[in-house]
Amino acid sequence: MILGLFLASAAWAAEQDEAQGSVVRVRAAIQPYDQFRPWQKKAPYGLNGIGVVLPGGKVLVTAALVANRTEVGLEKPGSAEKCAAEVEAIDYEANLAVLRPEKAEFLKGFKGLALGPALKAGDTAEVWQLERNGELLRNQAEILTVGVGRYPNDEAGFLQYGVRVSLPKRDDSYTLPLIRQNQLVGMVMMYDRDSQEGTAIPGPMIDRFLQDVADGKYEGFPTLGVSWTTLRDPNLREEVKAPKSGGILVTRVNPRGTAGRAGLKEGDVILSVDGMKLDEDGNYRDPLYGLTAIGNLVRVRPKVGSQAKFLVSRDGKEMELAGTYDRRARDEAAIPTLAFDTQPRYLVLGGLVFQQLTGAYLQEWGEKWTERAPQRLVELFSFQQEKRPDPEKKVVFLSQVLPAAINLGYQHYSGLVLKNVNGTEIRSLAQLAEVLDSVKEGNLIFEFTDDPGKLVLDASEVKARQEEIRKAYGISELRKL
């Protein structure tokens, strides 16, 4: 009896040590830029989470915890010892980031947590939290689902675990590690207190991310660059001359993307990718997870630069196509979706504020941004492949007019896409600045795609008033290109 008790305590102590040497508190000071007043930042706030110490002495957190940070600090669980940290690598799509303490010796003595194996639905694990005194709080969690789903800053979807866990309210809970047998098996990124369900980034995603970081050059997760639809409908199968079973129908191809450069075309039926057969719903049989959506097959299994092999049926004939995985369909876009950490580009001229369109600007209009934001901007962003296929042609728009005598009559205009200035086509904000700088006197004729079409300012008068307007509105810099 006594012996048993003693043994149990010893084991507990050992586990507690393990925990003490494996997690730290992460405190991030966040201050996003104000997209509507791009020369300034919004009110700062703090986010606190738990970071996982990795065997190499670095700390893993979710990207969401440190997005738009002004600084990040680490704090040991059992003491108030602190250390500033830098973000070494960050991927907003995969929602992962690696932090490096500024003082290398800060994490001395921390053993860190190794990555554990992939989990299956029905497996159990623990979600770790920290008490105020630094003691570990282990919450029993059950893996409900394993499947491809949306991440906070990614449209296409990555593999994720659906987790059921009852988490008590504690500080530092913005992101939490998912642990099994003292190994890191995931990072909890979203949690709903009402349903007591959350989602976690699976260990293999973390592994894939860390490998990419380790080689010194972070390349990210590739994308295919296609839209596709399921092929269950026998009439549709017949129409596109699909074989008896399997395969998905390509409905749009980005010519810059992995699939586009490999030669895939709209109307093709993709039968297999990298030797993995696809069923009619776009699932393949993953050796780790079983039936899994194509997203994991084309985004997580391959690396940027690795070979992509497609078996497609085109007009009833099967053919093999080969290419190289990359991110061009995502990275080379006229309107970037993600814009964290960076100051929005803008240019103020005669009170007219021009900005370069990003997804972040549109999101600033709130949850109903598709209804509230200027409809032309919503259209260009949402149907970018149709409306702005050239990634080099950015969308420069008049976001607002700061009223001044010089812009009388123009003050209610906003959300207008700039087409050209004095006849020169505008392709980026930087180029707009060049064009404007080249006009010393005479008219500045701004042409927009929508009503009222044209606005005119006098170049020399604009020049004379710039400083006055800058001061009146307290703008430190009139341009950020």
Binding site: S227, T229, R232, D233, N235, L236, E238, E239, L249, T251, R252, T370, E371, Q375, V378, E379, S382, F383, E386, I406, N407, L408, G409, Y410, N443, I445, D450, D451, P452, G453, K454, L455, V456, L457, D458, E461
Partner: protein
Amino acid sequence: MKCWFLAILGAVISGCAKDGQLHEAKKNTVMVEVTSQVWDYRLPWNPGTVSSGRGAGFIVAGKRIITNAHVISGARNITVQREADPRRYAAKVKYVAHDCDLAMLEVEDPAFFKGTTHLDLGGIPELESVVSVYGFPIGGDRLSVTRGVVSRIDYNAYTHSGRESHLAIQIDAAINPGNSGGPVMQSDKVVGVAFQGFRGDVAQNVGYMIPTPVIRRFLKDVEDGRYDYYVDIAVRWMPLENPAMRKYLGLANDGRGVVVTDVFSEGSSDGYLNKGDVLLSIDGHPIESDGSVRLEGKPVQLEEIVERKFSREEVRLEVWRGGQTETVNVPLKPADMFSMYEILYEPPPRYVLYGGLVFQPLTANLMAVLAGSADLRLKQKYTMFATDQMYRETPEPVILSAVLPDPSNVYLRGLAGQIVREINGRKIRTLADVEPALAANGERSVIRFEGDSRPAVLKREEVDRSTPRIMAQYGISEASRTEVGSRRLAKGSYSQEEKK
């Protein structure tokens, strides 16, 4: 019974209403009771739900009764009754103008007019002057009188049509359902028709009446036996306040003129005005740089000049173009490019049913029922249809509005709400294109949509088998209703044309 509530009406404190006015109003104000049917665009083959309501009207010269369009829209039965006569008489709609919410009724039985005279139309009442409102609002069955002062005279949305704005007069009287269509009087004359207001939780003591210029325009328009709709100059313009802009256009800084920023293709000004034209005067009225003109000593928007004109009449514009002044006469017509935004009342909804797929033209009524489920592409198609002049390519976008579940279309249900681009290789520009395109198929029909959606593929033999089954299952008597040809006919003048 419901009392029509679009309109509200106020009456006031008058010191100037004479005994004679009440007497005349009593004789010539009528209660209008209507049983109407409202089409259901979700189930376009159904005749719709029946409801009844009450409004007011008044007798004008020529034994004609004026009321609001919204009182009688969708009417299947109308009776009118006067204060002095307990009998109810059958009435019919002679003309209806949904764009300005007015209608004219006729009563066949001459007995109805016994003891009536008629009310004359007056002018625009002064601000702060007192008016009296007559009608049959909620709270009793006999004639009610309220009073108010004229609070504001301005352009305002006419909510019945969903898109029109015309001159309206705001009065501060209590407003109640059932006043709609009733006369608002001052000094023995009608100065307006009570027609709309706010719900009590939005604003109090704010009611609106249709002023006499709008009523007179309606009466004049129908003199030729049909209602032709408001005309529109169909341009967009921008005020010319900015000195640099004025200098660029070669204009003196004299506070005159507005610049045309867009000319709607197929509109009145198409071929007459260009982008960049500066409008200096309209029918001899100088245009200020904010777009206003002086009319009877009062500043009004330049459109008011156009508002008072009729189809095929001209408006004379003095235009600054290429450094000189030119005179341009623009023949006027209605702005059909905006007709998509008008709420339709009389015409039965048009549709084509094919294998459980329901095709409907994009209308304000359809958008109202799809509102919650419409995707961004459809919403933008609707909101940007006129401004982007999409009507040039596709005069009437066709929507796959619903997929009626049947074993034969189990894979197609997710496609509801898509915009039809082509059927069997034929471009779909209006609903009339749908049936011929579907008939052009071999054994399979392929329907393609805008954007990157998958196509819908249907086999002819399956559709032939499923159609009778679906029609029986969903109680659909006709597989299509496409007969209403012209879009204009489908709108304001429809009911009148029908009766001929």
